[in-house]
Structure formats: C-alpha cells, structure tokens
Subunit: 295 residues, 2 copies
DNA sequence: CCAATTTTGTCATTTAAATTTCAATTTGAC
DNA sequence: GTCAAATTGAAATTTAAATGACAAAATTGG
C-alpha cells in the first residue's frame, strides 16, 4: 500500500470520483473525527447509498474494507486528539497558556447552549410552543441584524404550518400584524442590544391590542418583561468584538423542533407538500423541475 | 444511566474490581484514545481474557455492551469541571440521564461547536477571512431556509465594511453579482440539503467568471468541492426531526469576528457610523431620534 | 483445608457487518 | 437518440462480533 494518508486519498475522490464516490468522500472528510465510531452500514444509511457501494469505495481507495480504512486512520492522524473530550481540552489548554481567546469563546458558547436546552424544559417554553402550534396567525419580527434571524425562524415555521408572516417595516407601519382581525394572533420578536425603537413600539402596540408576545432577546433587555408573555434570554458574550446573537438561531431551531413534536406526525404531509412546491418552482440539485419532467 | 464519564467509571474498577476487571480497566484507560478502533474481541485477545468477560465488564460499568461504551466515549466531553459552572454541569448530567433525547441533541451540538472552532484554525479559514476583508465586492447568497442565514451574515458584514450585498433572486437573474465589472468580487453561499438548484447554478456561473466562492454547507453536499475555493462543512444532525442549519449562524459569527480582527481596530469608526445612521433613521430604545433631538 | 460464592472461559447461538453475485440503472461516446 | 461501459443497489451469502448457558476455576470466609 502506498504512503498516502486517508485524507489525501479522500481528497482525490472528492473531485474525480463518480457521484456516489464524491458523496462518500465528502461525507468522510467532513466527519473524519467520527469515522471510528461508524460502520460501512451506518454511513451508507446516512448518505443514501447502498452498503456495498461504501465497501467498494474503500477498495478503490486501496483498503480491503471500511475497517481497514479505520485502521489506517488510526496510525495516520496520529498526533491530533480524537475524542471530543480531548479536543475540548486542547482548546482549553491553549487558552490557559495565553494562546487563544478562542478557547474561551468556545467554552462560553457551550455554556450558552446548555442554558438554551435548559430553557427548553421550562413552563414558558411549553406555553410558547403551544401558541406557535395552535394560534391562527403568527407574526415574526426582527430588525437590524436580527432581521435575518427572524426570517430564518419564519421560513422554517412556514414549513410546519400556514399563516406565518415575517413582519415588514417597508410599508412604514405594522398594520398587517397589528390590525389583523383574527383573534388568535401571536407575535414573536428577535431582539438584542442595541434595541431598535421599532421592536419596543411593536411590542407595546401588540400588548395594547392583546396580542401575546414571545420575545427572544439578550440579558440586557429591560423593557421586555412588561411586554412579553414569554421571554427567552440567550447569551451573547462569547469573547468576540461585539455581542453575538447567533445563539438565537440555535434557540429558534430547538423551538421549531418542539413545535414539530407538538403538532404531531401529520405535519409531515405539509412538510412534503412545501418541499414539492419548491421543487415545482425552483428545483433541487440533481433533478429536473417537475415542469421539465412532464414534457 | 448515571452521570459519570467513561474514564471515571474505569477508574473505579482499576482499584476495586476483580482480577480480570482490573486488567480490562487498566488497559482501557491506557489506550482510551484507541478504543474506538477496537472491538470487544480484539481487546480480549490482546489482554488475554475471554470475549464474554469484556462484554460483562461493560455491563457492570453500566453499558449494554462495548459498542455502547464507545458511543458514550464519542460524545463524552471529558468531565472537565472547567467547562461548565456547577449548576450547568448538573443540568447537563440531568438531561443526559433523564430525557435522553434532548441530552443527546445537546451533546451533538457541542461536538459541532468544537468542530467549528477547529475549522477557524485552518488555512482555508484564514484565506476566506482575507477575502472577506479585502475584496471590493462581497455577495452573499442563500435560498429556502438558508436565506435568513445569508441575510444575517450580510447584515453583520455590512457593519464592518462597504459593498456587501445579499444576492436576490427576485429579479429572476443574478446579474448584479455575476455581471459586476469589478475584478475583486467574492461570493459566499449558505446551502444545505436539499440543495436548491439556484445555489448550484450560481456557483457554476461564478466559477466560470472567475469569482471565488466560499461555501458554507453540510456534510452531504457533493457538488461543492469542484466549485468552491473554501468549503466549510457544519454538522446538521442534532437529533431533531429534520436537519438543523442553525450552526451556520455560529460559524458565520465566528467568521465575522475573524474578519473584524483582520481589518484591525480602525473599523470601529465605520461600526459607530453605521450605528449612528440607524439611530438617525430608526432610533434606539431609550433615545429620541436625532431628528427629534434637534427640535 | 473445605464449601459457598464469585468469577471466568468454552462452546453454541444470535445478531450485526461485510461481501458476492447479478440485474437494473446511469453515464458517456458517437 | 442508441448502444456499450461503468456504476449502483437488492438479495443472498459469508464473515465477524456480541451474547447466553453452563461448567471449570478461582476466591473468600470459616
């Protein structure tokens, strides 16, 4: 057997191989640290190729089978730490030795994640989930940099249920959300320092109209308590040059997942329908549009 | 299952176990990093005990079998007390033992974060950062649910530098990005399964025009390697009903932070200027708009 | 030392992983 | 479009790993 490392061999196939081979190579490269825990079968299932194909792929890389590849991986990577715990420790040690503000940031992010999962078990969380699942109309708002997060959340919720709207300031007012005649309307706002006046105005107005508010914000928001029915506070300080609101996306997705569970398995129908619609109008990689297919 | 780490469990048996148990525990502790590549059979042969004994030993540690032990090892964050505060650690233990579903998701998310921070140390990362800091024009794209992430990233980058644009399909083509006469143009795409045809088309077209591409995607993207100059793969499987792309936001913010460091402290001027502009036109909580202030 | 108990290994069985064969599908050249 | 070559997946087979039943060996307390 030649002297190439597993990584190098995989890299050769990422570009040059057949479709399935590229798929496998890409996946293996991306999750090289988890490969020792995998089997040819588990990999094949995850990436949607058959088990023999994975076996054959390992052969064409020059190994007898997937196990042999793992063997080689063991000697091959040698230096670097394998286990999650060791990898973490490496960051931590560097931090202590002064080399990395990065390691500190990682630790803060992990703590923040733990906290988000803690929030997901609260009474407030359950209440917010029920609202997001059952209320007729859901409006989602976010301004400045939180706009993207609001859109991200809204787009995902739209896969699960109808009548989800991203609140838009373009028209100069929030009439769509606030003057909705529907009684069963709920509002979600993503907001962080420095707080846009728009958010507070919107929240106040919603309150005055009896529209319940779920607020995702940071630890410095002092106006939310009075106005929000549920207020989820995520950490934003991760040793970066400014506060990062990225963990609102983590929270948002966990929330979406809870809504899915609340709605039950029948939502898969809608999910597939929405996916199909996207296929009709835009199309996915590796398929013709349905329009094409018909002709 | 209790809250101990694999290492702690093994340590208990090094002292207290029977002869064979001590042998096994000692061996496992000594070669804990190689365990993922082992099987119960291979271990039993190497240390001269029978295979069922190894299996029984794993049982008495609290695992169903050796495979389960490896599983745990994979997600074990190593019990560093430095990592989390006591309260959070306690919660982590609780989720891990009780509501297994969520605890497992949390572990997967932590592993993903570690991976992202590892990516941030690569050569590719440094290259992407340089591009994002120096190229004249930056275009950011994302479709379907990744649209929000693209917007989030673009909005933040706009705070740091001019000429950052969110690619919009509304006009039916990408002329803005692709027919830009500026030589120094770079493209960033956020994309995940199922891959929109738009992303691939855009990437291909960009490649043909010599526009470099930074691609943030998942482990299943088999078309990116040919087209992207840098490809950052984030984990998307967190034990949720569908793949979550939330960690692209975490990666995006870390990337933004790196760009900030690359640009140096003088960007703060721009940062403050943008913030002031927002104050002028929209206003922040707790202040009048500047317009108001004048009157 | 002996008997009760625990621990361990042998062998057969079950379960999971890898491999082979072969047919179906896809790809690429013309 | 058509055909040959290459690629891939389904089903059956082989091989390896894990487990269970039970007997042999070791340990413990007297």
């Amino acid at each position: 057997m030649s002297t190439k490392t597993v990584k190098q061999r995989l890299n050769d196939y990422v570009m040059a191989g057949s479709k399935a081979e590229r798929r496998i190579a890409t996946f293996m490269l991306a999750s090289i640290a988890e490969l020792p825990f995998d089997t040819a079968a588990s990999i094949s299932k995850r990436i949607g190729v058959s088990e023999p194909t994975v076996g054959r792929f390992c052969r064409s890389l020059g190994y007898q089978n997937f196990k042999a590849l793992k063997e080689d991986l063991q000697h091959d990577i040698g230096g670097g730490p394998w286990l999650l715990g060791d990898r973490l420790k490496e960051f931590h040690d560097r931090t202590k030795s002064g080399d990395g503000e990065q390691g500190r940031g990682l630790e803060l992010e992990i703590a923040s994640l733990v906290r988000i999962y803690e929030l997901a078990r609260t009474e407030h969380w359950a209440r917010a989930v029920k609202k997001l699942a059952r209320y007729r109309q859901i409006f989602v708002a976010g301004f400045q940099t939180e706009r993207g997060l609001a859109q991200y959340f809204a787009n995902q919720l739209q896969y699960l249920r109808p009548n989800v709207h991203l609140v838009d300031i373009a028209g100069g007012n929030f009439s769509e959300a606030l003057l909705n005649e529907e009684k069963s309307t709920a509002l979600v706002i993503f907001e962080a320092r420095r707080y846009s006046r728009l958010s507070e105005l919107l929240a106040k107005n919603a309150k005055s109209r009896g529209i319940p508010l779920t607020l995702i914000t940071d630890a410095y928001c002092d106006w939310g308590h009075d106005l929000a029915d549920e207020m989820f506070v995520v950490r934003t300080e991760f040793n970066m040059f400014w506060d990062s609101t990225a963990h609102m996306a983590n929270l948002a997705n966990l929330l979406i997942n809870s809504v899915f569970k609340e709605l039950g398995p029948h939502v898969e129908q809608r999910l597939n329908a929405v996916t199909r619609l996207h296929g009709d109008f835009i199309g996915y990689v590796g398929e013709s549009t349905r329009q094409d297919a018909k002709s």
